[in-house]
Symmetry: C2
Subunit: 363 residues, 2 copies
């Protein structure tokens, strides 16, 4: 699902139009995105945090959650769906649990604040569970799991989507009833932390759109058309009438459905939202943070995790594979290697247009 | 993965040998199994609990974790791997967390005791996390999730397996490094609770054996042979040299691997076990219990879950499906309908042999 072909500068797009994108370092791109968010009213800290998150995600090769989102976020700020500087407030709380109202602030800013509450509670109480209300798009779920793991906590992160993002059909159904509902987790380890981050849908909606634009076929067993038949035609997803994304798992897709529903319960229902409430916007994020020192000394835990990693990697390889990766390793490796960012031309053009409109100088 | 053809009494087996199994009610089977465990030294309570769990699992159609296990458990008791009457002890504890040493008692008995600790802690602290040491085979993970949900708690349950059960290859590898590591969860709901229970491996080892005995092919994308190529020949799994089960997910099997590793971390490493420690026996179970009343009133939570269920079921159906099930619903439905149990002849014969050897009268 990740695009590894990032080693070229001239990018061919539909109808063979050649578009030149300037060579841009991750740092320069981050500064540009920061200035864009500053221009729509974000504080320096907010703007820099959101920019850093989006650019880091691009560096990891996860385009769907990268700077592609900049024009969308700007639009949301302009329409009042994102409220820069919104304070968070805890609306219900016990020593180890909280419902955090994010007041429609930037999703990444809100989610890190909610995570801080979760990690503080886990350190105090060994285990914690924190959910959010009115939280905008949080980006990559694994980012929060990684942060917690870097602070020596085990952390599960689930992210559900509201009605408008219900692209995934329940098993046996043909209409979207759940989001692509990712599950992420972070585990402290000697060396870099383990960061798992998986979607419970068979394909991202953005990926379907991208394949449609390129007139390519969908991967098998990912999408149902409006009649409920498996299709490889991306236009059949958009309709009208609309199709739906299958839960992940192929023949065993009922398992993806089981996991997707768990995410909805944790991130949505536990926060008090009704799944079919069409007025809800943004993501529902749930953090379950666990302090391993409640169970064993930290150094012992991290060293056992390291042993597990080495044991996994000690397996002989399957045909066609060059290496066994631990979750997160590929993304960490990529982000370290990237010295310049190259974006699809539509993404870059949209960012430039937004910058121009806001009077932000590009380059 | 479940056998729905339970409506016949005469069962045809390899080489068309016809074996007659007596018609037996779930109650009679439970009593027989109870008497067998009593005969190897279990107390009445222990024996009845384990018998009830195994027969309930058969009633739900999940043969792999049913009375098929009786001869295995009896063997373990005789060899000292299961110690009837073993007390559990809490070896490390905070108000919301515990490591419970099960002292090699019956897995089901131990796991329910550990669950009681987890549920009590969740009621006291809103969230809890309890892991086990020296816990024998716990059977169906969903059973514990269901029990917690019936007590109005949300509960995640993971079960990992020790070295001897490492049938599942890491993604990119061809040697077993993880168990089939199920993830289960229970959610209180108006009506029956939601009980999800999925394996993170593409196929159960018992299913491979059963297909081999029937000289049938494996489902696609489930097993690697010893050379690391996908195979449909069940004998290629057993070798020698041995093959491995793939993580579940087909083309997206790296996601099954991500989940399987999470289960190993929670159930194994958090309890202080090394993943490649060959002296560890039995399962590692991890309970994460959450009291929804820390977040919203219970009746509101249950009614929102019910709304979610109805919303899922309101989807039009996919081609070839007659109904949208909520996780656990199929199994609850089956277990209510079953008025007599019919077992594969090998299973029944093995139980009768064990009973005879122990001087327990059958029927």
């Amino acid at each position: 699902v990740y695009n590894l072909n990032i080693g070229y500068l001239y990018i061919y797009y539909t109808s063979y139009e050649v578009i030149l994108m300037p060579e841009i370092s991750p740092q320069s791109l981050e500064q540009l995105v920061t200035r864009i968010f500053r221009a729509v009213g974000a504080s320096e800290n907010e703007a820099a945090l959101v920019a850093r998150e989006l650019v880091t995600t691009d560096r990891m090769g996860i385009d769907s959650h990268g700077v592609l989102r900049v024009p969308q976020y700007v639009g949301w700020v302009e329409r009042g769906q994102i409220v820069p500087g919104a304070p968070i407030s805890v609306v219900r709380e016990t020593p180890s649990a909280a419902v955090v109202d994010c007041g429609h602030g930037f999703g990444q800013v809100s989610a890190y604040k909610a995570l801080e509450i979760a990690t503080a509670k886990a350190r105090e109480c060994s285990v914690s569970c924190v959910v959010t209300l009115n939280c905008n798009h949080v980006g990559r779920a694994g980012a929060y799991a990684q942060r917690a793991a870097e602070q020596d906590l085990v952390c599960l992160v689930t992210v559900n989507s509201p009605y408008a993002g219900h692209f995934v059909a329940p098993w046996g159904g043909r209409e979207g009833r759940l989001g692509t509902n990712p599950i992420a987790y972070g585990v402290p380890c000697d060396g870099f932390p383990i960061v798992g981050d998986i979607s419970t849908g068979a394909i991202a909606e953005g990926k379907i759109k991208s394949l449609m634009n390129k007139a390519q076929l969908l991967p098998p067993d990912t999408v149902l058309d409006a009649q409920g038949e498996i299709t490889r035609d991306p236009t059949a997803f958009y309709g009208p009438p609309k199709g739906a994304i299958l839960p992940f798992g192929g023949e065993l897709g009922h398992r993806g459905y089981v996991l997707g529903l768990l995410v909805e319960i944790l991130g949505g229902v536990l926060a008090g939202n009704s799944t079919d409430d069409q007025t809800v916007t943004g993501n529902g994020i749930c953090f379950i943070a666990i302090d391993p020192t409640a169970f064993l000394p930290l150094e012992r835990f991290k060293s056992l995790v390291r042993e597990t990693v080495l044991y996994l990697k000690s397996s002989l390889l399957a045909q066609g594979y060059a290496r066994i990766f631990v979750p997160g390793e590929l993304e960490f490796g990529r982000s370290r290697m990237v010295s310049k960012i190259e974006l699809p031309p539509t993404t870059w053009e949209a960012i430039v247009q937004v910058a121009n409109r806001l009077g932000v100088t590009v380059g």
